[in-house]
């Protein structure tokens, strides 16, 4: 059983941080959250894989196992906690692709096959367990882009095509067409994160020319607005206020998920492989450090959330094997034994 900290305590701590932000006094916040191993075995681990969710199931596939690029696809049942291998993705085995789901279909495209940057784009029908090739991504062939969906549209942005990128393209599944939208105002980057909340996408972190330190901006993409992008506060310690004093969020190749009105960023790399975890409060535009990922620190991990349950799985580090999948309980007290 997990001892859940009282919400009121969190509220008071949050209020203390907000009040403290005016006075530049040091505020010590107890780090909360607990990572629970769900299937403690190497399992279907991989780095640079893809994940999307359809009807309370997660789908994880492609990626790199340290030797080969992969084309397999697995379904994860978070309720019963088991895996089912599904139909291989057609096309070349790849890593660093992007994925999203629209109208109960999964979409996977772009990526890297070890030699070539890829531009092809595929639709997965979970009901029939089958793949269909769709119109090639209309931007340049690339890898380490981000993919996300908002309502009935999909989006691919940033990445690396030989140069670092910040363009964004919208996919209309009904017409199988791509439309370029206004590019992000921030830095060009690859290995970024995009997470969606209330029909807006939040894009941050990543790398440009081997450095993640300068990629400290956070941008919100709202497809309902013509201009598209607006910037939030920086995610590194650059203000005179205290709220960002402890920020160590910048990184490349991290994992993110959204649950219970908060976003979580974990793992990734910035000089070394990381395991620390950060919680983003959308309304306050504030990040709070949470219990570090309890598996082996890793980069290129995959994360997803289903019904307000967040999972992180797969990835790579200098150590193998990895355990398989961990669920994060952000309000629970850290327990070393689970």
């Amino acid at each position: 059983m997990y001892r859940v900290k009282r919400c009121s305590l969190m509220g008071i701590l949050g209020a203390m941080i907000l009040i403290g932000s005016c006075t530049k006094t040091d505020t010590t916040t107890e780090v909360t959250g607990n990572w629970v191993s769900r299937s403690d075995f190497e399992g279907v681990t991989r780095s640079e894989g893809i994940a999307f969710t359809i009807n309370d199931k997660a789908y994880v596939g492609s990626g790199y196992d340290g030797t080969n690029r992969l084309k397999d696809l697995w379904q994860y049942d978070p309720v019963q906690d088991f895996w089912l291998q599904r139909a291989d993705m057609p096309g070349t085995a790849r890593s660093s692709a992007v994925s999203f789901a629209i109208n109960n279909k999964g979409y996977v495209g772009t990526g890297y096959d070890g030699l070539n940057k890829l531009q092809d784009f595929w639709e997965y029908n979970a009901a029939s367990n089958s793949w269909t090739q769709k119109a090639n991504f209309a931007g340049s062939a690339r890898y380490d882009a981000v993919g996300f969906s908002i309502l009935d549209k999909g989006y691919i942005s940033t990445g690396y095509d030989g140069n670092y990128l910040k363009d964004i393209w919208e996919y209309n599944a009904a017409t199988d067409t791509w439309t370029q939208k206004i590019s992000m105002g921030g830095s060009k980057r690859s290995g970024a994160l995009a997470f969606v909340y209330n029909n807006k996408a939040y894009l941050c972190t990543g790398t440009n020319n081997g450095s993640s330190t300068a990629i400290n901006d956070l941008w919100v993409f709202d497809p309902a607005v013509e201009a598209g992008w607006t910037e939030k506060r920086k995610i590194s310690n650059i203000s005179d206020d205290t709220y960002d004093d402890a920020y160590a969020i910048v990184r490349n190749n991290a994992a993110s998920f959204v649950m219970n009105d908060k976003a979580y960023i974990t793992c990734g790399e910035n000089g070394s492989v990381l395991s620390d975890t950060w919680e983003y409060d959308f309304s306050a535009d504030v990040w709070t450090k949470k219990t570090a990922f309890e598996g082996v620190a890793r980069t290129g991990a995959v994360a997803f959330s289903i019904n307000n349950r967040g999972f992180v799985l797969t990835g790579r580090s200098s150590n193998t094997p990895f355990d398989d999948i961990r669920e994060f309980f952000p309000s629970a007290t850290y327990d070393v034994n689970d």
Binding site: S39, T45, D77, Q80, W83, L84, Q85, D88, S128, N129
Partner: protein, 113 residues
């Protein structure tokens, strides 16, 4: 010792699986982690056969359809499900990922309806 473990696992499965059969067991010790066993068993689906793989008595894979190929086909024969399940168990025992590849599936020459 090994035979004792085998027998004990077999007893567990005699007690827990009625129509299903236990096909493969192993006992591995790797570094800090000790596994009670990697075990596969078949089960009947509406359309044929599937298999389950357990690690330490915890369900890990429940394969109700043939992996790798498109469509939702069950294994036509129990022996086909056993072949693939044993391959998965063998991979896990050798610390490999439990991924079945198309060429492996073809080598097993499954019966398709």
């Amino acid at each position: 010792m090994k035979s004792i473990i085998r027998v004990s696992i077999a007893i567990v499965f005699l007690a827990t699986s009625f129509n299903c059969r236990n096909h493969s067991t192993s006992n591995t010790q790797d570094g800090n982690k000790k596994y009670a066993g990697i075990v596969a068993q078949t089960f009947k689906t509406g359309k044929g056969w599937g298999y389950e793989v357990f690690i330490d008595n915890k369900l890990f894979i429940k394969q109700s359809i043939i992996p790798v190929i498109e469509g939702n086909k069950a294994f036509a024969r129990e022996s086909d499900a056993i072949k693939v399940a044993e391959l998965v168990v063998d991979k896990l025992k050798h610390r490999q990922k439990p991924i079945i590849r198309l060429d492996e599936l073809q080598q097993l020459e499954l019966v398709t309806k």
